[in-house]
């Protein structure tokens, strides 16, 4: 069994002070089960402390470390070196930030800007239905009703789908924003329906989707994003 790999990373870098873009190559000896976040940390520790990249939970729950590796948007905490070598059939990897927001430095983008699209669909209950009866009661939602949209609530806003989506770069709010909108249209606790529908069906809404299903294909949480967008197109 191969235990270490000599890999080459070609990382797209950006220096905001000089406004300079360039691609830098790093040769790394990487253990077979190192994740790409571990490889980037190794570069920081051993070769180049200036290389900037972001992560947080590092086990697929927060969506901070999303980036494009050989063109595929993914979570770098979930990609092991040996799996990457197998999947891409190469030991050379080109790494770029997702293009869903302006870059700040190297692989770090202005996530806040990307989130503006999610904020626009109001990811909360605008007008909650009052809870049943007195103040010790929860709303009742049948497991069957919940089942219809629960998968859409699993989205972690890593923006991999937005990056892969062929139509999201300009006017479309993007697949993950659509998921957040669909959830609250289907959630029986939301009484405000008009604003909800306006968001979903306006000029930045679901009709911008070209049904390529790239969103479902790249989603690290394996959510069938396209299914929910299709539901919305059919009027839910």
């Amino acid at each position: 069994m191969i235990t270490t790999y000599q890999i080459t990373l070609k990382i797209h870098r950006y220096d905001p002070a000089l406004q300079k873009h360039w691609t830098q190559e790093y040769q790394v000896e990487a253990g077979r089960i190192m994740r790409f976040v571990d490889v980037l940390r190794k570069i920081n520790d051993e070769q180049d402390p200036t290389l900037a990249w972001g992560s947080s939970c590092e086990h697929g729950q927060c969506g901070t470390c999303s980036m494009k590796i050989n063109g595929k948007p993914l979570l770098s905490c979930e990609l092991l070196v040996e799996n990457a070598v197998d999947f891409f059939n190469t030991t050379t990897f080109e790494i770029e930030p997702l293009e869903v927001a302006p870059r700040i430095r190297d692989l770090i983008i202005d996530t806040e800007k990307a989130y503006e699209r999610v904020d626009r669909v109001k990811p909360y209950v605008i007008d909650p239905a009052p809870a049943d009866h007195d103040d010790v009661e929860e709303n009742q939602i049948s497991p069957e009703d919940l089942e219809r949209y629960v998968d859409a609530t699993r989205c972690i806003n890593c923006f991999c789908c937005s990056s892969a989506c062929i139509s999201s770069h300009r006017t479309f709010l993007g697949p993950n924003a659509m998921l957040a909108a669909v959830v609250r249209v289907m959630d029986p606790r939301e009484r405000e329906k008009q604003q909800r529908l306006d968001v979903l069906y306006n000029e930045n809404g679901v009709y911008r989707c070209h049904s390529s299903k790239a969103c479902s294909f790249v989603c690290p949480k394996e959510i069938d994003v396209a299914h929910f967008i299709a539901l919305a197109k059919e009027g839910l």
């Binding site: 520790d45 927060c62 103040d135 699993r154």
Partner: protein
């Protein structure tokens, strides 16, 4: 360069939240519900509040449903008290347990997607240590959102604050607390995105900066949990409480530290050492793999210490194996599919045919910034610091004492978040409207020191040595000799750290500068943990001394550690609140000093 370190602007607000996880945003949402015109600012170190550590909590939220005839609040209080090894504060335990269900409803009414039962009501699960009739039988007390309860809380609290007009400053760190005459007036903040320092003056400042798991080499904690809040408090001359109370889980997956649940052992998984010998029978001849969590963790650690561990070359850490190969296919598919997928995803092993690497993993910090039951931060003499509050994992009120019960951590976030908000609103209503002027004193010197240092030491190497040292000497297994040598090494590392240099000169998103600052925080917190653990010559909850294996009544108190400058340790005490016992009501005898046996 020195010009770049100047304060660029001053921002005024009513409430400043340092952190934007579950505790911070539950607090912020409540303040905005009660005072819609308040200006509330939340800082977060991460790129967006949703990326906070709260989002990773899986299991559930303990809360007694008043409709449940089998359960009662007093049972939850008892379980928490017993679990804490008689070191939680009973006034806090009572307050939190009593307000638990109301907070579950707050989340449910605002859109959290709890799992449901057939009637459409909130589903409940049982967890270790959740009992009725004072330990008599298990009870279903934890509500949950599948295996992502923390995410549900985070999404809901974030949505509510967004809806009510909070201001977020993402990717920002608080680098100096502004204090004058025992009063806090806000802090100096480094906004990484712009590379600028700003002063935020606030009428109330709430620490909600999270845990300190990165002090240890293997941890379930997020990368940014570097104990910044504790270090900032220490540096301001304030104490931290019970830093030695750190919880470890016996089986974290090497190397990312993700939890491999207890289920693996309960379905028949066998722990094996380097020679593939099953070793648990040496430590617990009857219970073997099913022995309590702390005992299993110490058994694994002993195997590793005595040279029977296996070194993982990729993550540079020793571990033992968990063997699941003999389990029937059905068990793999039906009972442990999620953990199986974790091994597959993060170490590329198939537990059906291969041995899987595990070792104890740091999980939770019970200790923290000492507060009253309303989250008001206390000084060394337990006087309240005006204008300063703390909540969440960085705080210790103390709800967990020396050992936290499963599902009580995220409960604390939402209940204490609400209680702190109530107090903040009350105080704001009584005090004059303007935040007071305060000037910074030391952040600049510190930052310019980082930027001007030169030398050949590597920041990554020092951080690695620090974390390995804490895992070896100050984790599940503590002895006087081990901790004394760890303290000496920490002082050495603290000297070496001044020999590191920062290559990137531009301040905008300068991760080296932030990591250098974090390393100082890690060193300070590590030293506070080690010194407190050395001074406590007994075993209590998660704090286990191999040389003093029993709990002792003479240590029935909270440790207070102050450290105005690195190494200048001052130890103090805070009494454990036993007001439920002292009130002498029904069942009060259950709240005396009892044995923690299950």
């Amino acid at each position: 360069m020195s010009n770049a370190l100047s304060i660029r602007s001053t921002i005024h607000c009513d409430v400043l939240l340092i952190g934007a996880g579950g505790a911070a945003l539950r607090c912020g949402a409540e303040i905005l519900e009660q005072m819609p015109t308040a200006r509330v600012i939340a800082l977060t170190k991460v790129s967006h509040p949703q990326k906070s550590h709260t989002s990773t909590a899986q299991g559930g939220l303990a809360a007694v449903d008043p409709k449940d005839p089998m359960d009662a609040t007093i049972f939850h209080m008892f379980d928490t008290w017993k679990g804490s090894d008689c070191t939680a504060d009973q006034n806090v335990v009572k307050k939190i347990c009593e307000s638990a269900w109301e907070q579950i409803l707050w989340l449910e009414n605002r859109g959290m997607h709890f799992s449901r039962d057939q009637q459409g009501r909130l589903s409940k699960r049982t967890f270790g240590g959740h009992t009725r009739n004072f330990g008599e039988a298990s009870v279903y007390r934890a509500v949950f959102e599948a295996d992502r309860t923390g995410k549900g809380i985070m999404d809901t609290a974030w949505g509510e604050t967004l809806k009510r007009g909070i201001t977020f400053i993402n990717q920002a760190i608080a680098v100096e607390l502004l204090m004058e005459n025992g009063r806090c007036g806000g802090c100096v903040v480094f906004q990484q995105k712009d590379g600028e320092f700003v002063r935020i003056l606030a009428r109330a400042t709430v620490f909600a900066s999270g845990g300190s798991g990165q002090v240890f080499q293997v941890t379930t904690n997020c990368r940014q949990n570097t104990g910044d809040g504790l270090a900032l408090v220490l540096e301001s001359g304030l104490p931290v409480m019970d830093p030695e109370a750190v919880q470890f889980h016996p089986t974290g997956i090497v190397g990312p530290g993700i939890l491999a649940s207890e289920t693996l052992r309960s379905v028949g998984g066998i722990l094996r050492n380097q020679a593939q010998e099953p070793f648990m029978e040496k430590y617990a001849p009857k219970m073997k793999e099913l022995a309590p969590r702390d005992l299993v963790a110490r058994a694994i650690e002993t195997e590793i210490r005595e040279g029977r561990g296996i070194m993982n070359p990729d993550h540079n850490i020793e571990h033992v194996w968990i063997d699941l190969r003999h389990l029937p296919q059905e068990v793999h598919e039906k009972q442990i599919p999620e953990v199986t997928s974790f091994f597959k995803r993060y170490v590329n092993l198939d537990p059906r045919t291969q041995l899987c690497p595990v070792r104890p993993s740091n999980h939770y910090h019970m200790g923290g910034i000492p507060t009253t039951m309303y989250g008001e931060v206390q000084d060394k003499n337990q006087g309240v610091i005006e204008g300063l509050y703390a909540v969440g994992e960085c705080a210790a009120a103390s709800f967990h004492g020396f050992n936290r019960l499963g599902t009580n951590s995220i409960l604390e976030l939402i209940t204490m978040g609400k209680l702190v908000a109530d107090r903040v609103v009350e105080v704001l209503a009584q005090t004059p409207a303007a935040a007071s002027e305060m000037t910074s004193s030391h952040y600049r010197e510190k930052m310019s020191g980082y930027l001007e240092h030169g030398g050949s030491e590597s920041l990554g190497q020092i951080r690695f040595e620090l974390r390995a040292l804490m895992t070896e000497q100050v984790s599940v297994f503590r002895t006087k000799a081990g901790m004394t040598s760890a303290i000496t090494r920490l002082h050495e590392l603290n000297r070496r750290v001044t020999q590191t240099k920062i290559s990137c000169r531009d301040l905008k998103m300068n991760q080296e500068l932030v990591q250098r600052w974090e390393l100082d925080n890690l060193l300070a917190v590590a030293l506070a943990i080690a010194e407190a653990a050395l001074a406590r010559e007994e075993s209590r909850g998660a704090h286990f001394r191999d040389d003093f294996p029993e709990r002792k009544d003479e240590y029935n108190y909270h440790t207070l550690v102050s450290m105005d400058r690195f190494g200048e340790i001052e130890l103090g005490r805070r009494e454990v609140d036993m007001s439920v016992f002292e009130a002498g009501g029904e069942h009060h005898e259950q709240f005396s000093i009892i044995e923690r046996k299950y």
